[in-house]
Symmetry: C3
Subunit: 131 residues, 3 copies
Amino acid sequence: MTTITIDSRQRVELIDITEKVRAAIRDRGIADGLAVVYTPHTTAAITINENADPDVAIDLVMALNKLVPFDDHYHHAEGNSAAHVKSTLVGASETLIVENNIPVLGTWQGIYFCEFDGPRRRQVHVKVIGT
Amino acid sequence: MTTITIDSRQRVELIDITEKVRAAIRDRGIADGLAVVYTPHTTAAITINENADPDVAIDLVMALNKLVPFDDHYHHAEGNSAAHVKSTLVGASETLIVENNIPVLGTWQGIYFCEFDGPRRRQVHVKVIGT
Amino acid sequence: MTTITIDSRQRVELIDITEKVRAAIRDRGIADGLAVVYTPHTTAAITINENADPDVAIDLVMALNKLVPFDDHYHHAEGNSAAHVKSTLVGASETLIVENNIPVLGTWQGIYFCEFDGPRRRQVHVKVIGT
């Protein structure tokens, strides 16, 4: 397992980690299998989406903030319930297909770490299995 | 594959299954690999989120119920369309990294079975692969 | 890896690919393991839900369209931001447990390709690992 460290800078933000994930898979030396990209935080998530036009990530943040209001009569005293809800909606991990030692991504697909309660120092684990 | 049986008690409820999943992985005896936690129901889901403060699960239920109203001019005659929608938003499974025969979870992460159309008797499958 | 080609016919649509996925797994000849069903597109997704009553898929489309409006002051100039948001909410892949060379699905579970920006020609990859 390889662990990537990320420093987020905003409260809600999508950070492109495609190249870091690709490097972690390449360094592992497994040609054929699966890779799981997993964040161990409960106010963050991993998603796959377009990384050609940065406006897509901006629209994703806007839409998620609108779907899950920051303040909404939540019970959790820490005040970050919206971040927990977003984490469950987007999900803590993505699973990638690995062939020829690289992840099989579509032309427009990038891998994003989703910060929902930043700024913070965060971790992402990459685990590759196969042969 | 190990199958865990769960008896939900409410219509919408998050049930912490972390220890049961951990036991299923430990009993399987695979030190290094992946574990998939999968529910075979279409009105339920699996999620990973904080299990230290029980208010987080309460807020998740509240937010999901607000996002997907129980009654909303649905077509499906069984009357549980909201549960099907929630199942697709949260997802039928979670994939965990396994090292040293235990799932790699963050400090605050627990694994939840999400009941969206209870109360019912439910199942969760845990499959571990690796070496 | 097996690639399935799909021709969607509507702007937003759920297409049942259960039999195609089952065939891809069977043809691969791996009795015991995992299968990842993955779409390489950023305006599509994969989900698991009921495929007995076709009204469930209709309600899922209706609910997703309501949650994420087609027009909502998005920045992305292509005009399909709603599709990108839905893709992140539903997710690019599903992971299935494979035993006896078939996916372990619940009685009512089917596998759907979710078109969010059609009609288009689309792809779904199926990767099986195990023994």
